[in-house]
């Protein structure tokens, strides 16, 4: 565990793609770092919806699987 804690970046799966992000960041900070406005998207982490109110509190963990979605045109 000490080894993980010392890592500067961690690996996660974002919309099906593997990505490296800064360790110790909240989900909101992670979204902002890739240019997304947390207020405009909905987030699922490891198959569970993350309430928008807690995006700033929950820290991204190594191996987390995220789905970041928004509304698009559709029938």
């Amino acid at each position: 565990m000490t080894e993980t804690a010392q890592k500067l970046t961690i690996s996660i799966i974002l919309n099906g793609e593997e990505r490296s992000v800064g360790a110790g960041r909240s989900i909101a900070a992670m979204l902002e770092s890739i240019g997304l406005n947390p207020a405009k998207v909905a987030v699922e982490r490891n198959l569970k919806v993350v309430p928008r109110s807690s995006l700033g509190e929950i820290v991204v963990n190594e191996g987390d699987k995220f789905e970041i979605v928004h509304f698009v045109g559709g029938g």
């Binding site: 974002l14 919309n15 099906g16 793609e17 990505r19 890739i34 240019g35 997304l36 405009k40 998207v41 909905a42 987030v43 699922e44 198959l47 919806v49 993350v50 309430p51 928008r52 789905e67 970041i68 979605v69 928004h70 509304f71 698009v72 045109g73 559709g74 029938g75």
Partner: protein
């Protein structure tokens, strides 16, 4: 029922929300967001369906639908188009609710890609779970009066039978069953899918439906804005014809001019 004197006073209510327009339009297949927004405006629709999809991580600054169609002015109805299992549909709508707090949603669970026909076993299962989780699902379904009843029993807030396969533009194929669904339903009934042109929408309304949901008929018209206006008029005309009560049908002619006093 108390038939209103003019269409402008004629509203309908779904899950406690009241609307004047009986036309719901989709937001897919348009050439641009601008054209889409103009078509919504021309249609007079107060509700639009939207899909939930992954954001483009590679280009996060792409324009978004919400920049063109304001969710504060137009009711967004998140749908589950493209979902083939109850689990996928439920997962999608949980995300939709988080994206904007919507509980009024459109549920569709498809059975196969070729026909996009609804899978009613999965649809019923999903509807039941969604209702338990506090959602108010308007449900796309087969034009089957028994399936419609079952959906209502599990708490669907609107029944939305197909007129014909999604995107086919074939018009309402089974007026008998759509009418039976209308007669048996205690919640609004809207034809969803299959409308190709204005007369198809009028037929749905003449059958007593509370509204019509369409996407391709407007988006793929040569002039989507003009078609949006045509649909608005057709829905109003069909609704008025339904309320007015059509004449009976006869097998033979009946002259309109008096027979007495002929020279």
């Amino acid at each position: 029922m108390n038939a209103p004197q003019c269409v402008s006073a004629d509203t309908w209510t779904v899950a406690g929300r009241t609307f004047s327009s009986r036309l719901i339009v989709g937001t897919g297949k348009y050439k641009s967001f601008e054209e889409n927004a103009a078509a919504v405006e021309a249609s007079g629709a107060e509700i639009v369906t939207v899909a939930v999809r992954r954001v483009n991580i590679a280009d996060p600054n792409q324009p978004m639908l919400t920049d063109f169609i304001d969710p504060k002015k137009i009711t967004y109805l998140p749908n589950t188009a493209g979902c083939f299992t109850a689990d996928e549909a439920i997962r999608t709508l949980r995300l939709a609710r988080e994206a904007g707090g919507w509980t009024l949603v459109k549920l569709e669970v498809l059975g196969e890609a070729k026909t996009l026909y609804p899978d009613m076993r999965e649809t019923l299962k999903a509807a039941e779970t969604l209702v338990k989780e506090g959602f108010e699902p308007m449900v796309y379904c087969v034009d089957d009066p028994i399936a419609a009843k079952q959906l209502e029993e599990v708490g669907a807030v609107a029944i939305m039978p197909l007129g014909a396969p999604i995107g086919s533009g074939l018009g309402i194929q089974n007026r008998i069953t759509v009418r039976l669904i209308v007669e048996g339903a205690g919640v609004p009934v809207l034809v969803d899918a299959g409308v190709g042109t204005a007369s198809d929408a009028a037929v749905a309304m003449e059958l007593g439906c509370d509204g019509v949901l369409m996407n391709t008929a407007i988006a793929e018209a040569r002039d989507p804005l003009m078609m949006a206006r045509a649909m608005k008029s057709a829905i109003e005309a069909g609704r008025m014809a339904y309320l007015a009560g059509r004449m009976g049908k006869r097998r033979y002619a009946d002259p309109s001019s008096p027979l007495a006093g002929l020279i």
